[in-house]
């Protein structure tokens, strides 16, 4: 039993009956749980106990689930390896010595190690899909607005969604059925008017489906990853799928646009952490500027500081148009590009990550290299679309995931395609 998967182990029993009765769920530590410490992987919130439940947590409880603990994560969701957590790194249970991915590394590891039947994570730029791919489990990032964010500690509020991780696509879809749906407490939620539960779509029935592969998301990927990806495509072809190449020109700017928007929003979303109402306090010696500066210096790790400062810079007078406004233009372009691609294909496919899981400690020295690893996942968040990552095989004994992206509110098609590989 590994101790690095959970930040807090605590059991919360749900209702006696329901679709998740007899199911254990691990919850990422940036999702508010009433009465149970919620740290976001940060010293800033090391002692913070929310007085309320996130909507998804209420829904888990109503469905009869048993919550078994709060999982480790990159600090405030900022990272791709779970190594920026103030509570230490998590080791990949199926690839010792390697990272589990991030930022929902603890949730993916909990499922892969059998510590929980299923888990909840959050995905701002790939934070569900990346750890799902690295740990050999299934993960779903829903269309923006399908799952309530009420209670999710915000990092980049226009980009993120809570989603399920599970051993199979079907189980992930079943968990999505429990947590999805409009919430009066979250003004950005939508009611997609589905005709069937998500779990029904995990039937592997892909005969006649057209899958588009964006060349930009395949070029430059690790050879071993590509090989595994191609084998998976052959598997789909054998099941009646037509595979075509597509081009998403705008994707060239996706990482920049993502980081400018995410960092800008983060700089504002994390401003509330000043130690007065909750969180690490700077004491009372000195005026509020001095005290706040100290509280935040102590409470935030290096990556969080980096993103908060860069985000502040991108929004600041004189730079707003150059960075933030241009990033929004790039985002709109990416959305358009995806829409146009879907005119010709049912679903898009790519390797979830361009590289296999890195060794622990390998990637922390150069932030920019780390950011580039998100190239395949961030365009999906920019476009507000749904995506599923499903295990596609291994390279050198390291898990490789395949990502399926569907049109907005068409989780079913991505689930269907992914389930054909399960």
């Amino acid at each position: 039993m590994s101790d690095d998967i959970f930040i807090t182990r605590e059991t919360v029993e749900g209702a006696d009956d329901g679709p998740l009765a007899d199911t254990t769920v691990a919850v990422k530590d940036n999702i508010s749980t009433e009465g149970v410490r919620t740290t976001c992987g940060s010293e800033m919130l090391a002692d913070y106990v929310p007085p309320y439940d996130a909507t998804v947590v209420s829904r888990l409880k109503e469905a009869g689930a048993t919550i078994v603990g709060k999982t480790n994560m990159d600090e405030f969701g900022m990272g791709t390896t779970t190594e920026t957590s103030a509570f230490g790194a998590t080791e990949n249970p199926v690839a010792p010595g390697h990272v589990p991915g991030g930022s929902s590394g603890g949730s993916a590891a909990a499922v892969a190690a059998g510590e929980a039947d299923v888990a909840l994570g959050s995905d701002t730029g790939g934070s569900i899909r990346c750890p799902a791919a690295f740990c050999g489990v299934a993960g779903i990032k829903p269309t923006y607005g399908v799952v309530s964010r009420y209670g999710l500690v915000a990092y980049a509020n226009s980009l993120e969604q809570i989603g399920p991780l599970a051993p199979t696509v079907e189980e992930a879809a079943a968990l999505l059925d429990v947590i999805a749906g409009p919430d009066p407490k979250d003004a950005t939620t939508r009611d997609p008017e589905r005709s069937a539960p998500y779990v029904d779509a995990a039937d592997g029935d892909v005969d006649g489906m057209t899958v588009g592969v964006p060349t930009e998301l395949v070029d430059g990927a690790d050879e071993g990853v590509l090989e595994t990806f191609e084998d998976a495509l052959d598997d789909l072809r054998a099941q009646g799928v037509e595979v075509v190449d597509v081009s998403l020109e705008s994707v060239e700017y996706a990482v920049q646009a993502y980081y400018v928007i995410a960092m800008s929003e983060a700089s504002s979303n994390l401003a509330r952490f000043d130690g007065v109402r909750y969180g690490n306090s700077g004491g009372y010696d000195g005026n509020w500027n001095e005290v706040f500066g100290e509280a935040r210096e102590e409470g935030f790790g290096a990556e969080v500081k980096r993103r908060v400062l860069l985000g502040t810079y991108a929004l600041s007078a004189g730079y707003h148009d150059k960075y933030y406004k241009q990033a929004q233009n790039a985002r709109a372009w990416v959305k358009q590009d995806f829409d146009e691609a879907f005119a010709d294909v049912d679903v898009l496919a790519s390797p979830t990550m361009p590289v296999p899981p890195m060794a622990l400690g390998e990637s922390l020295s150069d932030p920019l290299t780390m950011y580039l690893a998100d190239a395949n996942t961030v365009p999906v968040n920019l476009a507000d679309l749904p995506a599923v990552s499903v295990p596609a095989g291994e390279t050198d004994g390291l898990p490789v995931g395949m990502q399926f992206v569907a049109p907005a509110f068409d989780e079913a098609t991505a689930i269907r395609a992914a389930s054909a590989l399960d």
């Binding site: 929310p50 007065v276 009372y284």
Partner: protein
């Protein structure tokens, strides 16, 4: 302009106002916490207005309705799309260290309000009006804002809906701002979106600059280049109409004085000290104000321009005043008093619908409002008992009691002791004496006072007053003096 030329030039004062008003909704703008004032700190908060991690804002439709009503009343445009932005800065009264407000797409734009100053009517341009959330409230412990040991924070107020109304720099005298604020409050109160009696419901920032008079166009307007080149001071911490006038009179004087002495006016923010009636520099707090505005992604934009047609607003004070003059034949002064608040106006029309308009006007405008004013009370203090006031008017109209008694005994008794009019009438035996009793008293008075009768018959008309007094004494003051006078003359002239 240079300090030297300022010394010699004729100067025109240019003033603009930024007015923050608390809107009267039951709950806060982004959450369902009540807005009702309470003495218990931090008892009206929730994850949203406390800014707890993970909480999200959801917009109160009543706040949007109120904003559209205001827009309608000031003849503003309500654009196709309007949205919220974040204004980012750090302060302990701001739970999220950003305020959700509106930046370049406000809900109302280009309105105006007509005011009357010294009998003259003027139109003040309103550049924009937008919605935003109120921060919490601070108490400085162990000193004042400059030297306190620490601060106590109460977030009950955080999230109360505010409307910020920004005027064009159309004011030319401090007293005009007072007239504007009075008019604005009146209109807002008529709309039912504002309560002037609520502490802190009105907050004003004013800016003032002096420009050379020869740069002012004939129609009174001033070019933007002229305005931009003049140094402007912003005055904060004004919370009343009178305060605005005082602060700006002080500021105008201070600036004129500086200029006449050849000194430059600094562009700065100043703090109004109500007790001293002066403004003080806040220079030490001047720091670059980079608010890094960007869209609030948690709140979808609004497309509510069609609400302007769909939402109705009541007849506004000016229109009502004019109608009162036409319909009820009232003087400008009486009509003004009777439309001072919507409640008074509604009550007047209720009374005037059943009794003589002039009588109603006298009783509502002069007697009722007069007695209330004398006791430092407002109509709101008796709003549950207006039916009793109406009963009083009924008694006077039916000639059951004298107007004198009605005012001096009954009305005062109602206000001071809370008694009902009929109870007072009965207790004090104020019922007007019937005709026979009066006739008898008249006869008696004539018989008992032959000298006064003789004086009257000799031509001393004033002697009748003595006799009237006698009759009044006999009837315990409840006869109507006019009637008594008539009857005495009738009896004596026979």
């Amino acid at each position: 302009m240079s300090a030297q030329s300022a010394k010699n030039a004729d100067l025109t004062t240019v003033i603009g106002l930024e007015v923050h008003v608390q809107l009267e909704t039951d709950t806060k703008i982004f959450c369902g916490c009540p807005t009702e004032p309470t003495d218990e700190p931090n008892t009206q908060t929730c994850p949203v207005c406390l800014g707890l991690p993970g909480a999200l804002p959801v917009l109160n439709e009543a706040a949007v309705e109120a904003a559209v009503k205001v827009g309608k009343a000031i003849d503003a445009d309500i654009p196709e799309e309007t949205r919220f932005h974040r204004k980012n800065y750090f302060y302990p009264d701001l739970p999220k260290n950003f305020q959700i407000t509106q930046y370049d797409e406000p809900v109302c734009a280009d309105g105006e309000l007509e005011i009357s100053v010294g009998g003259e009517r003027r139109t003040v341009g309103i550049r924009r009006a937008h919605l935003e959330e109120d921060p919490g409230s601070l108490q400085h412990v162990g000193g004042n804002i400059d030297n306190a040991d620490y601060t106590l924070v109460n977030y009950n107020r955080a999230g109360t809906p505010l409307m910020e109304i920004v005027t064009k720099p159309d004011f030319r005298e401090p007293e005009e701002t007072r007239a504007f604020l009075e008019k604005l409050e009146e209109v807002l109160e008529y709309l039912g979106v504002f309560d002037a009696s609520r502490d802190g419901s009105l907050r004003i920032d004013a800016n003032l600059s002096l420009v050379p008079s020869d740069e002012v166009d004939d129609d009174g307007s001033i070019g933007t280049d002229v305005l931009d080149s003049a140094n402007r001071t912003e005055v904060k911490n004004i919370s009343s109409h009178k305060g605005a006038e005082t602060a700006l009179q002080y500021e105008e004087g201070r600036q004129k004085d500086l200029m006449r002495r050849g000194k430059a006016v600094e562009q700065e923010t100043r703090h109004f000290n109500e007790t001293h009636g002066s403004t003080v520099s806040m220079r030490s707090k001047e720091e670059e104000k980079d608010y890094r505005y960007f869209e609030e992604a948690d709140l979808p934009p609004l497309q509510v321009s069609h609400w302007k047609d769909e939402i109705s607003i009541p007849e506004l004070p000016d229109a009502r005043r004019e109608r009162f003059q036409d319909e009820y034949g009232l003087s400008d002064e009486a009509a003004s008093k009777l439309t001072s608040t919507k409640q008074v106006a509604d009550f007047y029309e209720d009374v005037a619908s059943e009794y003589d308009a002039d009588l109603a006007a006298t009783w509502v405008a002069d007697e009722l409002l007069g007695e209330l004013n004398y006791r430092d009370m407002a109509v709101t203090d008796v709003e549950g008992r207006l039916d009793e006031v109406k009963r009083l008017v009924e008694l006077v109209a039916a000639d059951d009691i004298t107007a004198k008694n009605a005012k001096e005994v009954v009305l005062r008794g109602m206000l001071d002791d809370g008694d009902a009019p009929d109870d007072i009438v009965e207790r004090e035996d104020l019922g007007k004496t019937d005709a026979d009793a009066v006739a008898a008293a008249v006869a008696e008075a004539i018989e008992e006072n032959p000298d006064a009768v003789a004086d009257y018959e000799d031509g001393d008309d004033g002697a009748i007053n003595f006799l009237v007094g006698q009759v009044m004494g006999k009837t315990g003051g409840s006869a109507d003096p006019g009637t008594v006078n008539q009857k005495l003359r009738a009896a004596l002239d026979e």
